[in-house]
Structure formats: C-alpha cells, structure tokens
C-alpha cells in the first residue's frame, strides 16, 4: 500500500473498522493480514507472551521482536450488547452488536456478524472470527457462530 500520512508515515491502519480514529501504529501490518483474510495478533519471539490486539512491544520482557499469528479456532462468547444508538459515523449502522470472545490465551473484541440474531447468542456460545470488507475500501472483522 502506498498510503502516506501528512508526516510521510505509513497510515494503512486508517482503513480499520467502520470509522478510523488513528492511522499511525507500528502494528499496521495488521491491515496486510486482514487483506489476506486473517485476523492476527503478535507473539513475543523472546518470551512467548501473546498479544491480542497485537502489540509492537513486549511488556513482559521489553523485546521488540514480534511474530504474527492468526486468530484461529473457536472462542467462547463472554458477553455482548446490541446498541440502539451509535456515536457519530455509526448512526446509519444501528442496531448492531458488539461482543467479546475468549480464545483461552487471549480475548478478541469486535462486532457480531449481522446474520446472527441476538436470540441466537448466549454466554459461552462458541464463535469464530471472520474478516469483513466494508464500503470505501475499509477492513474489519466480525464474529459468526462456530
């Protein structure tokens, strides 16, 4: 991607989500992984600490040597909420559902796919994560039933 910010920095991350609030981060390869259909976190090459959302720095051992890993398999639904009102930029989107999945070693926060109705949801429900392409060349991910 040839996108550059005003300061000449790689701002690919601006494409993440329905509305982007920040474009500059040292984990902007997150976007490259989404492009290839993967939701990815990072693992410290020195101590093995796992991070989702991905981190560029390890707060356990202070290493900067990170490897990407794909979020795979089933997570358990920790909780969710269906919003009747949204903030600026999301008003056209309501109602939509945000949720948290627990994959054991890490958790993932995101949206529940629109095809899943609220009646189908229950705490503990196995779900998996799927990359979503949004209008305007934007990228996100959503949870579907496993």
């Amino acid at each position: 991607m040839g996108q550059k910010s005003e300061a000449g920095l790689d701002d690919r991350f601006r494409r993440f989500g329905t509305v982007g609030f920040t474009g500059i981060t040292r984990v902007n390869d997150f976007i490259a992984h989404l492009e290839e259909g993967r939701v990815a976190g990072t693992r410290c090459r020195d101590c093995g600490q796992v991070f989702f959302p991905p981190c560029a720095d390890c707060r356990s051992c202070f290493s900067r040597r990170m490897a990407w890993f794909a979020v795979e398999g089933e997570g358990r639904l920790v909780s969710w909420s269906r919003l009747a009102f949204g903030p600026a930029g999301f008003q056209e989107d309501v109602p939509y559902t945000i949720a948290l999945l627990d994959f054991g070693g890490y958790k993932v926060f995101g949206r529940v796919d629109r095809a899943v109705s609220e009646e189908e949801l229950a705490v503990g429900l196995p779900m998996k994560v799927r990359v979503e392409r949004l209008p305007g060349d934007r990228l996100s991910y959503a949870f579907v039933k496993a």
Binding site: F13, W80, L83, P87, F109, R111, A122, V123
Partner: protein, 389 residues
Amino acid sequence: MRRVAVIGVGQSEFVRAYPGSIRELAFEAFREAMEDGGLKPAAIDASIVCSAPEYDRQRSPAGVIAEYLGLNPQPTFYVETLCSSSTTGVRLAAALIASGQHDVVAVIGFQKMSEISSAESQERMGRGADIQWESPFGTMMPAYYAMYARAHMAAYGTTLEDLALIRVKSSVYGRLNEKAVYRKEVTPAQLADPKDRMAGPVASPLRVGDCCANADGSSCLLLAAEDRARDCRKKPVWLLGVGSASASVNLTGRDLFTGLSVAREAARRAYRMAGVGPDDIDVAEVHDCFTIAELMAYEDLGFAEPGGGRELIRNRATYREGKIPVNVDGGLLSKGHPIGATGGSQVRTIVLQLRGEAGAMQVKEPRIGLVHNIGGVGLYGNVLILGIE
C-alpha cells in the same frame, strides 16, 4: 503523615443546561463550600480543578477558574480521570496536605456537558474507548456496562427486574434532593412497560431507565490538615482511607466481567488504610452511572458476596432504613452525572450525612461513610472512607 479532614463542602444544582460559563458554574459550588467552612480565599493554599477533558472549550481550565475564584497567586492545577476526576483530586489534595506541602486545599470539580453541541458530543462518545482497537466498531459507554450486566445475569441469575428496583430506589431519594436533575418517581411498572420511555432500548439489556442523565454541575471540597481542621466552623470529617486502582481500557485485557476489578482493588486499599471493613460502613455513595454499576458495587465493596447484590436490593437493605444505605441522595441516576463534579458531590453527601446535616435524606447517626467513584468503564477507581469522631 498528618491527618486530613474535609472542612467544607459545596455543590451547584445539577441541571440540564447551566445558563453561565464554566467559571461561574465552578463558583456556585465554591461559594457554598467556603460559606460552609467559614473561609476566605486567602485561606486556601492551593486548588485542584477536575473535569473530564474535551467537554470544555477552555483549554487548561484551572487557570480561568482559579482566577475567578480569587485563588491567585496560590498554585493550581488540573487533573482528570474521567468520571472519577474529583476523587482523584481528593487523593492528590490529601497527599499534599499529609506531606506538609499545603495546609488547606480546594478540590473543584465541574462539568458543563452543554458546552458542546450534541453532534460534538456524539463524536466524543465515539472516542470514549480504546480508539485504536475498540472505537472502530462503534462502541458507547452504555454498551460496555451492558456487557457487564449480561455477564452478571448469566453468572448469577440477576434480572432486569432487579435492575429496575435500583432505579426505583434512586427515584425515591432523587425526589428528596433539591439539587437533583431528575426528581420524578419511577415505578417498576414503567420499566416493565415496553411503551414507556423508561423501558426504551439503549444497549441491550440496558434500558433508558437503567442509565443516568448528563447534567451540568459543580462540586467543591475543602480539605485541611488536622490542626487547621480543629478551628473550623463545622465538625471535621476525617479522611480515614483512600484507595485507587486502574485496569486496562480494552476489554480484551480484563478477566472479570461480573464486577469491576478497580473497585475491588481500590476498596481493598481503602479498607486497609482506614482499618475498617465493609460491615463498619454506615452509609455509602456508589457510582451508579447505570443500575448494574450499583449492583456490582454492592459486591465489589463487600456489602454482599459476588452474586448476592440482588438480595440487598430485593430486601431493601440499601434503603435509608436498611442495613447499608446506598445512594440515599438519588445517586447519579437521579442527581445526574456532570462527570468532573460527580465524585465531589458524592463526598459532599457523605460529609453531610456524618455531620447529621442531610435533612430529609438523613441516615440514623452514621459514623463511617464510603465513597465509590469510577472513571470510564471500570478504567479508574477511587474508594474513600470518611469518619467522624
């Protein structure tokens, strides 16, 4: 370390839209606190100004407020931890006094939510969480507390009817509080009737009636060292314990979803410092920005076991005549929640209760009171324990 007391308290009325500027709003609470404590501005050694940022047009509000209150050339500074800003101010003031740097410090909390347009407010709401990893999904404060409510219901069988009982209790005391923004009665039937405004959906499972209202308002607390406190007009109310904690913003960094870890940790620290436990508390003010927040506070503070919170409200144990009266001033749900002023208002209520000056809301002869004030969705937590001799 010197002992610290609250020697003066003040609060503006909490209203939908204050017809004045932030400095004038701050003055409303300051005047009341100074009259309460019988002090002149020269007696104040330093001021700490507290609000949630980005609602104020004025950058660095401490400057204009200290000027308007007549608190130059004494030092002043601004502090924020969102909705717990003014109890963070109390913690810093107490440290400045205990260390001997100052003798009397004013903690001024304010928020003029109506300072910005509703469009600007909607925009700020979108940036209330982790803007890199959560806000792009369209998150809002009520939805996060709603996720805690859902998890609590699944784990312990707490019901929407239990949450409604908390709103009903709040309205009983909101009607008695002349400074509250919402003073109407709320009945369980209203929250159960899908056609009633109170039952309207906000973020499932939370309804309109489960959420506090925005408000404009200010609070002011005067804190003093022991030797100064003894000479004041009013009986000093001692700050016996202060506990603070933080947690990850992003829910992915948390393990507990049926309570707030910051509240548990801050309470543990405050109880230890004060040398008391939950059974010693005679009256409490908890951060009920949502009904579920009050229910979780019962458990996080040790008034009930985890999962036992609903029994307290079902048995009316948190009413004024109950075992542990909670939010008998109407709480955030009825008073309204002018973010930076809220913690100071909670402390004011406890001080008035301990002095026996709480009027129609007075609990019978309380000796020890507690304040639980939370910033963000369990991001920052402060617990204060206050007592009277």
